[in-house]
């Protein structure tokens, strides 16, 4: 057998195809041209912002109309440009020297948070008291939003303990009354444990599922999720869904927890079926979905949809 000719690198040498000249370089293109000029009013312009005036106006308005203190974070949102923190610091420093802004004051909490207010609308003593509540709200909001972004619920009691506040003195549901924290909601697990979550990053339903997970009864988690699926969409639920991270079920435990769910009398509406071709296991609740439809929907997911891409 004739040996293949090899290159210096030891690779099989291949016949060259086409010309030996190097290809022409790519051509730079302008792909579209516009036939009209934008109307003058439509030209994007960054309006000039008097940051000091904007800061003062925001503080005075919030104090007057909402009777609340203003956090530094709120002010940063008013600043244009790439370095808003620096811009706000500079503006605040200048404002202290300007008598026009003499009513703008700051209060610092024990933990070092700074809040601003206008003496025209909130007095010093009142501001000190409010700052304590502002700090609670601020720390709850900050922690809950971070946790929710990471798909975690925030247990209420440990958070209160951490902040050093009494839950009975400030109800967890009170925080939503402040429009700045309207995304902060609570959900309670079957164990009675209450959790915060932020709707900025987490749906109510996702929070509910996490609360079920926190109940530490996987059978309830499975049964209630199956009931939801059968009721809302309606559709049967492939048991593989419970291997998704949020449900916290391990692959080696899946079969046994499904079997246990099916055996519990309070979940007798939960039925199982096995696809005859793929062997996939699906559950459904016969409270909301009859067996024939459940089977057809399973068949659709397992066989028909893949065959009709």
């Amino acid at each position: 057998m004739q040996e293949e000719e090899k290159t210096a690198a030891g690779e099989p040498k291949r016949d060259l195809i086409g010309p030996t000249e190097p290809p022409a370089p790519p051509v730079t293109k302008v792909n579209i041209v516009f036939m009209s000029e934008p109307p003058i009013e439509a030209v994007e312009e960054i309006p000039a912002v008097d940051l000091k005036e904007a800061i003062a106006e925001r503080i005075r308005t919030d104090c007057k109309e909402l009777a609340i203190l203003v956090s530094e974070g709120t002010l940063v949102g008013l600043a244009p440009g790439d370095q808003p923190h620096e811009a706000v610091s500079a503006a605040l420093a200048e404002m202290t020297k300007n008598p026009e802004y003499a009513d703008i004051k700051a209060v610092t909490t024990a933990s070092g948070l700074v809040f601003f207010y206008s003496e025209r609308h909130i007095k010093v003593a009142e501001a000190a008291a409010k700052s304590l509540l502002e700090e609670v709200k601020f720390r709850i909001g900050e922690k809950v939003r971070v946790d929710s972004k990471e798909e975690l619920l925030t247990p209420v009691d440990p958070l209160y303990e951490d902040i050093g506040w009494d839950r009975s003195a400030y109800s967890p549901d009170e925080i939503r009354k402040d429009p700045r924290y309207e995304d902060i909601k609570t959900v309670t697990a079957a164990t009675g444990e209450m959790f915060f979550y932020s709707t900025r990053h987490m749906s109510d339903y996702f929070a509910l599922v996490l609360a079920r997970v926190a109940s530490k009864d996987v059978c309830i988690l499975i049964a209630e999720t199956v009931r939801d699926e059968s009721r809302i969409y309606p559709r049967p639920t492939c048991v593989m869904l419970f291997l998704e991270k949020v449900f916290g079920v391990k692959e080696e435990d899946l079969e046994s927890v499904v079997r246990k769910t099916l055996e519990r009398p309070e979940f007798r509406d939960i039925k199982a079926m096995i696809h005859p071709v793929t062997g996939a296991v699906y559950l459904y609740s016969d409270k909301y979905l009859d067996g024939e439809r459940a089977f057809m929907k399973m068949d659709y997911e397992e066989v028909i949809r893949p065959a009709n891409p």
Binding site: P26, V27, I32, H201, D299
Partner: protein
């Protein structure tokens, strides 16, 4: 004369019968007037002649109406092949990378009927940048050629060194000549050999099915395009940017999904499932360097739209396989939705092909679906199949070709109670006496293939494999020949090793591409039609397409109309595509599937139905967007998996079907991607995401807004939709002319309604939503009424033709007795 944006204003015509090879024509200098050819090359005024039909598909159909006759056939020299783009192509309109290739359709039983194939990629936009709205190819070159288009300069080039080679080689050769910025659309051996199941392909994975054989019949190997011009946009930059940004906020994922497929914390209502929005945190493009985490891909994050559709994970076996082998998800010009899966399977190198492959959807199983036992994991068979099938230019025909091939390979012809007529027990001899049928018990091979072909296939298979596949010793059939002495069960292919299964693929590709098509598809067809059995080659049989083959092989016809594998063909033997098997589709899908001369390729309805929102929300959004169209009830049935779930036909469903068809034609003419549009639903809800249209409500006016912004016209949505009805009506006119009958309802549309849509004696059939035959008649009436077509015949009325500015066509049809 008005100056429009969008259109270039010129169509290029290349008459291969009259073009000298190697002679460049500068169309700006040598062609002093429209329609004055030099060296077979001329140009046509788009605006004057085709503007009413928009471009792309509409333009192509108008060319066929004007320039072919009732008796012109697909492979005739007189057939035209129209590569058409539209005003939106290449404009930067999201999803505007498409080109439509229109011609008389080789795969249809009546190949004087028109249809179209469609490619994404970058070829279409490049044609626009070169200054052309379409290329009309006509005539036939005396020897293999390719067409080189560099802006205004057009040259018919010698393709002798490429002929007989695959698409990859042709593309590479042309890129060597034209440079890396050029884009190439080419055919492989399948098209050269006049396979009716051949495609034209660009950009490695973007293929237009069905038209490859027409290119082959003209001795046209490829068209290379390089353009340095720009598309003119009538509006201003600020308005344009705002419009594009607005659409981006409404886009979901591929196939119109607007909610994630997995349970995601950010989805405002906790909805998930049923879509191609398959990205998730911790789900990687695992073969990228470094691997890319597709991440949350929230609905408001415009910078991760391209990550949302992780088809590598979804289509190639999920965790540990699909994600592991995915390099990236790529796509077409101007499209933020990426849907083509780039894979890396180093295991493929042992078969002599590149480890890097790319395709999407059914293109990923073009040959591997023939395997009697899928290799594990299936991605290896799939990607080897892509490497070979795409190079040969084999068209999958949405799975029908694979079904036919498998059937012809495996099925025996034993008559039984279920199929008593397959092979009659007795036949008449020359004296009229009943004698035992000599083909009883034979396999399809025995009945239909020549002795020489059977010998070739059963004893010398390795020799039929072209290099380099010959080295792979695909000895499957040599090892396991059909033995007439054994029972059917004993003759079933034995369980095969993974290895031999994979090695079968190159052989399949070669057969499909017609490498052993001794007689060619036309001669084989004529021979068998004339009564000659045992005269064909396997390649020729497969390559003639399901429709023709089924007329010769009753066993196949039975299979196509009755099988339970969800790949049922329609009665006209082209395959259904998103028909009644889809939840909620019912009459709407049945209507859509009867309208064309191939599978409809309509995704307007299937994308909306598959957006993940569920029927209640879908009905509410549809009602909000299209209230002015006179809706009277749910357009989408709430369940539609069981016969009892399909609600009666109503006006809303007729409107849904009409709009689905109209926007399909508009997308293929303008040209934007019907595989992701329409944007009737949005991933944004009202409360959290501030969707100004309401919870998950998209936009019904986006198409016409883009048209107006690009062209400078000022059409209403209804005026724009009338263009779609005009294109559909032109298709009707072409059908009537080619079929020489105005009876389109009976002889065209209802022919495409298979009995399996309906319950048989109340017996439920798996995989479809069965519908009521009497209601289906009402559905047809209502759809025709939406279009202004005659209910009795299914033809546009004269009034409709005239309302649409098609009086000359109406007059022509009337003169032929083809107008109702």
């Amino acid at each position: 004369m008005a100056v429009y944006g969008g259109w270039t204003g010129k169509v290029l015509r290349v008459d291969l019968s009259n073009a000298a090879i190697g002679v460049e024509v500068d169309t700006t200098k040598q062609l002093t007037a429209f329609d004055a050819p030099v060296n077979g090359i001329s140009k046509v005024d788009t605006i004057a002649k085709y503007k009413d039909y928009l471009g792309g598909l509409g333009l192509g159909l108008k060319v066929l109406w004007d320039e072919t006759t009732a008796t012109t056939k697909a492979f005739d020299v007189g057939n035209k092949l129209v590569f058409g783009v539209g005003p939106l192509t290449g404009s930067g309109t999201p999803l505007s990378g498409r080109v439509t290739i229109t011609s008389l359709w080789p795969a249809h039983l009546n190949d004087s009927l028109a249809a179209s194939g469609h490619m994404g990629g970058h070829w279409g936009p490049e044609l626009k940048y070169a200054g052309w709205d379409a290329v009309i190819v006509q005539g036939k070159a005396s020897k293999p050629v390719w067409i080189q288009i560099v802006n205004d300069k057009v040259t018919v080039m010698d393709a002798g060194n490429m002929w007989g080679n695959g698409i990859y080689r042709a593309t590479s050769d042309i890129m060597d000549i034209m440079g890396p910025s050029a884009h190439v659309a080419a055919i492989g051996q399948a098209g050269e050999n006049l396979s009716r199941l051949a495609c034209c392909m660009t950009g490695r994975s973007h293929s237009a099915g069905g038209v490859g054989g027409v290119m082959g019949s003209k001795n046209l190997k490829a068209i290379g395009v390089l353009g340095t011009g720009a598309v003119k946009i009538a509006t201003d930059k600020v308005t344009w940017k705002a419009l594009v940004k607005y659409q981006h906020t409404n886009l979901g994922a591929n196939s119109g999904g607007v909610i994630p497929n997995t349970f995601q914390s950010w989805q405002p209502d906790g909805l998930f499932g049923g879509t191609r929005w398959t990205a998730a945190k911790g789900r990687y493009w695992g073969a990228a360097t470094p691997p890319v985490d597709t991440g949350d891909c929230t609905s408001t994050d415009m910078n991760s739209i391209g990550l949302r559709t992780h088809k590598g994970f979804a289509d190639h076996g999920g965790a540990g396989i699909g994600d592991k082998h995915t390099v990236k998800i790529g796509g077409c010009h101007g499209c933020p939705i990426r849907c083509h899966i780039y894979t890396d399977c180093p295991q493929l190198e042992q078969y002599g092909v590149s480890r890097y492959q790319v395709n999407t959807c059914s293109g990923n199983s073009i040959l591997s679906s023939h395997l009697t036992k899928a290799p594990t994991p299936s991605i290896y068979g799939s990607q080897l199949s892509v490497a070979i099938g795409d190079d040969y230019g084999c068209w999958r025909d949405y799975g029908l070709a694979a079904g036919v091939f498998n059937f012809m390979y495996k099925t025996k012809a034993f008559p039984d109670a279920a199929h008593p007529t397959w092979t009659p027990a007795t036949v008449k001899d020359a004296n009229g006496n009943d004698i035992p049928n000599p083909v009883i018990g034979m396999s399809l091979w025995d009945k239909y293939l020549s002795a020489a072909e059977r010998t070739r296939l059963t004893t010398n298979i390795a020799a039929t494999i072209p290099a380099p596949w010959k080295l792979l010793n695909p000895d499957h059939i040599a090892k396991y020949p059909y033995d007439p002495a054994k029972t059917a069960a004993q003759n079933q292919p034995p369980a095969q090793t993974k290895d031999s299964d994979l090695r079968f693929i190159p052989w399949l590709g070669a057969e499909w591409a017609g490498n052993k098509m001794v007689d060619g598809t036309i001669a084989t067809w004529e021979k068998i039609q004339a009564g000659g059995t045992q005269s064909a080659t396997l390649g020729a049989l497969i390559s003639m397409g399901a429709g023709r083959l089924a007329t010769l092989v009753p066993e196949l016809e039975y299979e196509l109309l009755n099988n339970k594998n969800n790949t049922n063909a329609l009665t006209t033997s082209f395959i259904k595509h998103h028909s009644t098997e889809q939840a909620g589709a019912g009459y709407v899908a049945a209507l859509i599937n009867m309208m064309f001369n191939r599978d409809p390729q309509c995704h307007t309805h299937s994308n909306y139905l598959g957006n993940g929102l569920g029927p209640d929300r879908q009905n509410a959004i549809f009602a909000k967007l299209f209230a002015a169209d006179g809706l009277d009830g749910p357009a989408i049935d709430p369940d539609s998996f069981l016969a009892a779930d399909t609600g009666p036909m109503n006006k809303s469903k007729a409107v849904f079907a009409k709009l689905s068809l109209v926007y399909l034609e508009l997308h293929n003419s303008s040209t934007i991607c019907n595989y992701t549009l329409p944007g009737w639903a949005s991933p944004l809800n009202a409360a959290r995401d501030k969707n100004p249209n309401g919870d998950y409500v998209g936009d019904s006016d986006l198409d016409v807004r883009y048209h107006n912004a690009v062209t400078g016209e000022n059409l209403t949505r209804q005026q724009y939709e009338d263009i779609g009805i005009r294109i559909l009506s032109l298709t009707r006119a072409l059908n009537a002319r080619a079929m020489n009958t105005k009876e389109q309802r009976i002889l065209h549309d209802k022919k495409a309604i298979p009995s399996w849509y309906f319950a048989t004696n109340g017996v439920w059939k798996s995989g479809i939503c069965q519908i009521d035959p009497a209601q289906m008649e009402i559905a047809i009436d209502m759809l025709y009424a939406e279009f202004g077509w005659d209910k009795a015949t299914g033809m546009p009325t004269r009034a409709t033709f005239e309302r649409l500015g098609m009086k000359a066509i109406a007059d022509d049809l009337a003169a032929k007795g083809l107008l109702p």
